[in-house]
Amino acid sequence: MALQALVTDIHSLSAHDGPGMRTTVFFKGCSLRCAWCHNPETIRKEQEITWEAEKCLGCHACEMVCPVKAISFNRESNYIIDRESCIACELCVEVCPAEALKTAGEKYSVEELYERIVKDEPFIKGAGGGVTFSGGEPLLQVDFLKELAKKLKERSFHLALDTCGMVPPEHLQGMLPLTDLVLFDLKEMDSRKHKVFTGAGNERILRNLFVMRDYIRERNLKTEVWIRTPLIPGMTDTEENIYAIGDFLAQEFSGMISRWELLGFNNMCTTKYRKLGISWPLAEEELLPAGQTRYLLEVARKAGKGLKEISFSGLTRREKVVPPRMNG
């Protein structure tokens, strides 16, 4: 059978997933369960039905058409889906007049996804732009990814791989020769905390960083590496963590890493959680105060001495100078 991948979204002209303007493909399925995940629809590796309360007309057409009786409505007219029994047949999506129901995850063959990306070619080829594979964890669909990357490389696209690092090392190695830029997430240095925040310790992730470094060196690859650290209020946004990451990177990887980005938290993905019927503890969480991000950036620069470029991006909250959070 031809290779297929599940893709939740394709973003054209993103200016935030690597250099230039890029087409970013979001693959479905992830190996971590980060508490702050921004793309919750990409976490599970199966197709899922999403429901938008604002659009729902309450016509119950979905309930009637469902062959496995997975859909019901509670007294407040809220749609309830039993995801265990749902077989993602999409009959409800088809019948929904208001497009309140949608399927997260669309199947693509390599050829189809390639054709789709190539449509954006003129816009993303100039100014250092290209294609970014994101997710979810794209390396979970590595066979597909390699096929696609090979075809895109033949057409000289700049390719970026956005990975959480929680993958079998050979998956990562297999993609490196096809990748111009790796956006590697390093979220938390304390493995116990890492497990609390993301569902897994960070040992494999750190090991993969070394694997990647050695592989790039041995094969003399031109692959560039950016490290990305999300600043999550009350979790990863501690001085201790940022210092530890910076120190670790400076010790082991200076020279290989061309950029370390601190990414500010925002809760703009709250509606995505709502559509999946998941209550998200961070829904009400505010942006980080500008003072704190400035301070953390200073910490990062101090610890990460020798790293080429350290920056912060994202929205912040304006507030009088706030002492940095010193928990942990």
Binding site: S12, L13, M21, L57, C59, P122, F123, G126
Partner: protein, 761 residues
């Protein structure tokens, strides 16, 4: 309370202290409602004809609309309001000696009006000339009843227009001749027509002479006033300024300008003398007009790049929104970019904010200049300069039938329109065809006659669009018959190729080479989406009857929410879906062919423009709910841009849909895009991203981009708190023109915040 809020600094080009003072005054005027432009009513915006005034709404005088009725379309007036009406209304010659519809009666009013318009010189100015009243506040400006009757008939069927044509005079004529030279040209031509016994021409040229003499007096008064002030002023800096003004004005009372500053001053006087009749135009390719003056002065050592830039910036500040363009190609189709192109855009860069300048891209344009222009758009984020595609504009002129010689010298001139400089009076920008209306009539007929076949329904639609176009043609032709008598554009005529030679006003037949009629077609994407949904659900699947649909629409879909969503769920234009995009081609080709088959009394055909500047905001309730699933209270689509919120696949699919249309077949069709500031990462050069985007868009055949960089949430805050200083300087590109956001009518603001704000595209 009157205030000035200074904008955030967005440019590295430094302003002189003198220019800073002038800039502050300009901001003061804009922010304190001294430059507002009004229209009588919402019908004006939808049909481009209010049924009341024959123009935009006169600010004061007997034809002014009530203050609580008129609509403020933003601070893009040249007129500087001083809170008073024109004091000599009762002494106007047409009031004293009697009014008649003819050029000389008009010219006498004009001369009196200009003579009574005070000389206004502000300290620190080196470029002078501004006005407080327009002629339509003092002279009766209304067409005869027969014309108004036709106007109302056209409106019933979905069309209208004031024919206050925007054109682009060739200021090169005036810069070469000066007012004295123009006068001589008029007199020579008059002698020739006298000899030939062409009385009508002689009379017209008498009027032109009256007007020109009054302009000469006007310029002379400026020179005298500046001389008087220079004599009495003690402050050395001010004294020097007055001396400069005096010398400049004195030198160009009758003579042609010979230096750069004189050329700039001449242009400003022309703009004032022309715009004072109540009608603005485009003023052409500033880089071509000024380059020789610039080079000569630099060679003489009396001018440098910086001072030239300062003077151009001053010209911008004097007029308000300036309709100049830059770049493009020359006669041999080579890149026309020169040093003045840079100076012109740098002058804007230095000021930022509101302006209407255009940069004309083509594949051979100077790469650095193009990058700079894109950088300015991205950095200031106020939609200026407008980026347009020279080659598509020229191709559309050639396609219409302009000669090669007329088509090369094209200038982007404002909103979506562009002109062959000095060689056309192609009635454009202010005619409207509300395409939804004939479609609605066709639907009623289909229900009554029980038409169930798509082809038959299309025939009825074709017939109904034809009916609307026919009544518009009749209305326009009647207007053209009267226009040179009702409101001749004599000042404009002075700088056109033809009117003075032919002894005919520019508004008259056979005055200039090109006289097409362009019509802004409103609601095209709504018609496309509606026709597609009806074709599917009524004619193919036969899920609903037309009668049933009409009932649902009549009730504004009330009680038919499921049905509305079925119509809404049909594929929509703007998502790169061929089936519905093909419908877009069918609908646009159809209206184009239909318009092109109709001729005006000047012998030129009609042309569609896929643009309408603001009608979409107000037309919703007027036309009611539509089969694309739109409720009555929602606006229509903006120009050819997909209906709000229906392009769900991101910007590139939208562009692909948008550019399936061949814009050389139309008189403009701007692409509107609102970027959230966070679209641009701090570490990426905005100019590079804008350039990449714009260049590709043009290579795909797009003709115009209006690009805003703004946060729609901020605009929502600004609506709640319009007095807050932090919102006072937000400038948005509304459609083809820019304006300060908080100054605009609330309806405009509401429409604006409904737009899709792209954080990533």
């Amino acid at each position: 309370m009157e205030t000035i809020v200074l904008p955030d600094k967005k440019s590295s080009i430094r302003k002189s202290a003198r220019l800073q003072k002038l800039h502050e005054r300009n901001l003061y005027l804009a922010q304190n409602h001294k430059r507002d432009l009004f229209v009588d009513n919402a019908e004006f915006l939808v049909y481009h004809w209010s049924g009341q005034a024959a123009t935009f709404s006169p600010a004061t005088g007997e034809l002014a609309a009530a203050e609580d009725q008129r609509i403020n379309i933003g601070d893009h007036n040249c007129r500087v309001d001083n809170g008073e009406p024109f004091p000599y209304v009762e002494e106007m010659p047409s009031k004293v000696k009697g009014f008649s519809y003819d050029a000389n009666n008009f010219a006498e009013d004009y001369a009196f009006f200009l003579d009574k318009s005070p000389v206004v010189i502000h300290p620190y100015e080196r470029i002078v000339g501004e006005f407080h009243w327009q002629l339509d506040e003092a002279r009766f400006f209304q067409y005869p009843e027969e014309n108004r009757k036709l106007g109302f008939e056209a409106r019933k069927l979905g069309a209208g227009g004031i024919s206050f044509t925007h054109t682009t005079p060739d200021l090169g004529i005036g810069l070469k001749l000066g007012w004295g030279g123009i006068l001589e040209k008029i007199r020579k031509s008059r002698a020739k027509h006298e000899k030939n016994g062409y009385r009508q021409g002689v009379e017209y040229l008498n009027a032109a002479e009256t007007v020109t003499l009054s302009i000469i007096r006007y310029v002379k008064r400026y020179a005298e006033e500046a001389e008087r002030r220079a004599r009495s002023e003690k402050d050395p800096e001010l004294k020097e300024n007055y001396e400069i003004v005096a010398r400049t004005c004195r030198n160009i009372v009758t003579d042609a300008p010979s230096t750069f500053i004189e050329a700039i001053q001449w242009i400003n006087f022309f703009q004032v003398a022309e715009r004072i009749i109540g009608h603005g135009n485009g003023y052409g390719r500033l880089d071509q007009l000024l380059i020789d003056f610039y080079r000569r002065d630099v060679e003489k050592g009396i001018l440098d790049h910086e001072y030239a830039r300062e003077l151009v910036a001053e010209l911008y500040l004097k007029y308000g929104g300036n309709y100049f363009s830059f770049g493009g190609r020359d006669r041999d189709q080579k890149d026309a970019t020169n040093e003045m192109s840079w100076i012109g855009i740098e002058a804007y860069d230095m000021l930022g904010g509101y302006n209407q300048l255009g940069v004309m891209w083509h594949p051979d344009i100077d790469k650095d200049f193009w990058h700079y222009a894109c950088d300015v758009v991205g950095r200031h984020g106020a939609g200026a300069p407008t980026l347009v595609n020279y080659d598509v504009m020229r191709a559309s002129e050639l396609r219409s039938g302009y000669s090669e010689e007329d088509a090369w010298d094209i200038a982007y001139s404002g909103c979506q329109w562009y002109c062959s400089v000095g060689k056309e009076y192609s009635d454009q920008d202010l005619n409207s065809l509300v395409l939804v209306q004939p479609m609605q009539r066709a639907m009623k007929i289909a229900a009554e006659e029980n038409i169930t076949d798509w082809e038959k329904f299309w025939e009825v639609y074709d017939r109904e669009v034809n009916r609307t176009v026919d009544v518009l043609v009749e209305f326009k032709n009647n207007t053209y018959k009267w226009q040179p008598k009702v409101w001749p554009e004599i000042v404009t005529s002075l700088c056109m190729h033809g009117p003075i030679e032919n002894g005919r006003d520019v508004t008259d037949v056979r005055a200039v080479n090109n006289n097409f009629t362009s019509v802004n077609v409103l609601g095209v994407p709504n018609v496309v989406d509606s026709m597609y949904a009806m074709k599917e659900l009524i004619f193919t699947q036969k899920k609903y009857t037309m009668k049933r649909l009409l009932e649902a629409l009549e009730r504004n879909w009330e009680g038919d929410e499921v049905m509305r969503h079925e119509f809404l769920k049909q594929p929509k234009f703007g998502n790169d879906i061929d089936s519905v995009d093909d419908m877009a081609l069918q609908v646009t080709d159809h209206v184009r062919e239909l318009l092109e088959s109709k001729y005006n009394i000047k012998g030129f055909h009609f042309r569609p423009s896929l643009f309408q500047f603001m009608g979409h905001t107000y037309a919703g309730p007027m036309v009611g709910a539509t089969p694309d699933g739109r409720r009555a209270e929602e606006p229509l689509a903006h120009g050819m841009n997909p209906m709000h919120g229906r392009n769900t696949q991101g910007i590139l699919p939208t562009i692909r849909s948008f550019t399936k249309i061949d814009y050389s077949g139309f008189q403009g069709g701007s692409f509107q895009i609102e970027l959230h500031p966070s679209f641009f990462p701090d570490d990426q050069d905005r100019g590079t991203l804008v350039e990449l985007f714009a260049t590709n868009f043009f290579e795909m055949g797009g003709v115009q981009i209006n690009l805003n960089v703004l946060d729609i949430d901020t605009l929502k805050q600004a609506m709640k708190d319009p007095e807050n200083p932090k919102y006072r300087n937000i400038v948005v590109k509304v459609t083809g023109y820019s304006a300060h956001f908080v100054v605009m009518d609330r309806k405009f603001q509401e429409e604006f915040v409904q737009r899709v704000n792209y954080q990533s595209l």
